[in-house]
């Protein structure tokens, strides 16, 4: 039982760290590249506009999809590694 508890705690810790890193990327592409850092990316041009504009209108959405699938894939591996899968 104690082992089970320690195992569950370790699994949760791994999950929270994965979530944290995913959220860093999530915030970077939207709030970062798309809004706050846009002035710094003005010189990088993407088809008639700048990289920040592209991230705000297309790039962030594409990255969001990648984040979710990466998270699901990694967490499914963690589920098996810690033996907590259904």
């Amino acid at each position: 039982m104690a082992d089970d508890k320690a195992n569950a705690a370790a699994y949760w810790k791994a999950n929270v760290s994965l979530i944290t890193w995913s959220l860093v990327v999530w915030a970077l592409v939207s709030f970062g590249f798309g809004i706050l850092l846009r002035p710094m990316l003005m010189n990088i041009s993407v088809g008639g506009a700048d990289l920040g504009f592209w991230f705000a209108q297309q790039g962030s959405i594409i990255t969001f999809i990648a984040i979710i699938f990466h998270y699901a894939w990694r967490l499914n591996k963690l589920d098996k590694q810690f033996g907590v899968e259904e």
């Binding site: 569950a8 699994y11 949760w12 999950n15 929270v16 979530i19 995913s22 959220l23 999530w26 939207s30 709030f31 798309g34 809004i35 706050l36 846009r38 002035p39 993407v46 088809g47 008639g48 506009a49 700048d50 920040g52 504009f53 592209w54 705000a56 209108q57 297309q58 962030s60 959405i61 594409i62 969001f64 999809i65 984040i67 979710i68 699938f69 998270y71 699901a72 967490l75 499914n76 589920d79 033996g83 907590v84 899968e85 259904e86």
Partner: protein, 589 residues
Amino acid sequence: MSQFVINMLFVGASFALYFGIAVWARAGSTKEFYVAGGGVHPVTNGMATAADWMSAASFISMAGLIAAGGYSTSVYLMGWTGGYVLLAMLLAPYLRKFGKFTVPDFIGDRFYSRGARLAAVICLLLISLTYVIGQMAGAGIAFSRFLEVSNSAGIWIAAAVVFAYAVFGGMKGITYTQVAQYVVLIIAYTIPAVFIAFQLTGNPIPSLGMIGTHVESGEPLLAKLDAVVTDLGFAAYTADTDNKLNMILFTLSLMIGTAGLPHVIIRFFTVPKVADARWSAGWTLIFIALLYLTAPAVASMARLNLMTTVYPQGTEAAPLAYEERPEWVKTWEETGLIKWEDKNSDGRVQFYNDANATFKATATERGWNGNELTVNNDIIVLANPEIANLPGWVIGLIAAGAIAAALSTAAGLLLAISSAVSHDLIKTLINPKISEESEMKAARISMAVAILLATWLGLNPPGFAAQVVALAFGLAAATLFPALMMGIFSKRVNDKGAIAGMTVGLLVTIVYIFMYLGWFFIPGTATFANTPDNWLFGISPQAFGSVGAIINFAVAYAVSLVTDAPPKAVQDLVESVRTPKGAGAALDH
């Protein structure tokens, strides 16, 4: 064949399809009624959730908003998609593991109190009812424009169709009709966009066309658009915003608001396994992105098309003579969505930004006497097929698509409302001994009542249709999202903390919105004029949900820390939702 007959055929055929599904997917148990039996494939659920989520606003209005607003309206694109990242990692899988039927179910059990459950039911009803008004009104508009019936007749027809498959089919009927509705709406949205992208940029993929080259001028499309609009005194399409704090908070509000919407969350209760909930959120976003990556392309291209229609010889030459206006302008003038007023009596259409003081000299020099053309944002999507000279059947498809978008969201909202009433209010709070059969009956009756109420509200909109979005997302962001997230990620937050957090979050957000948009949205009662100068730190009412959420988190933690920790059983519940093992199917209880 007349356009009216074609529209009738398309809309009629789509309704026949929905009715067929309703008959096939009749719900036999409360489990089928609330969560479609819990056996929906993650990809199927992704498609249904995409239709559930994409409303009349996404389909009809969003591209028009972006066309008018340019870069700063990217908040809708990022905000309404970024929420799925939060849903996939912070809420959906754990709530699926919890394995019950409604959002208040979790809040009531996790915060072990009837007060918390009741607070969640109230928040849910406020959010979902305000949201459903827009859907009924949207369906009414689509009917009246394409099928030549009155607005109110349109709303009654929409109500009858939803009634047929939602009351009998419950979540099961809704799920499979939403899949059909997704297919209808995505085809309808994409076909005109592909043709327009090909005409303007030579690239049939709209999202690539947007960052491609404008064939006629040889310049990049967005650079060409920037040049044309600034020539006429409008702000550049890609111009940066000077209020970045507001843009960030607005985006965040839409993101956490999306993740906190009950009708979206309950869709994830229908998949068989916890891991499926994670994948399903990814599939949902793929299906949503098909429209959301096309929308900004449609926006920029339609804006350019509109400008070049009015200035066929370029912005330096004389604008379009009114008598030579194209057919589609005449069609939409009849609906009042395009208006022309010849202010300088020259018979030509001057379309420019007359609020721009530095452009005034140029305008006077050219003999212009104010902007003469007003174009409703909704035109951008609705008139697309005609602007691109597409055949009549594409217009019929747009009609069916707009109605599908409104109906699919309305049905999802009505299910969230009826399950909160029959399951949380009647079964859990009022009469726990109710039998399965009576609960089913209660669920169907509350669904029927909810449809009647939504119809009535759609027929008599309280005059704040435009503000509804701000309210629904602000409330979801400030109340349900923080409560759900803390319920999963903290073992320390207790009943008192959660109730205090939800109450304060709700009040702060609603008061801030009322202060600028009118108390209870009654016109003329606003405390301050709704202008950026008056906003607290430049934060708009629409963006305030994220502030409400932060306050909710802070209050809930503070109150919890000075009161007792939750009982052992509740802490065990939190541990159990954190691991997928032992979930099984959604529990009958």
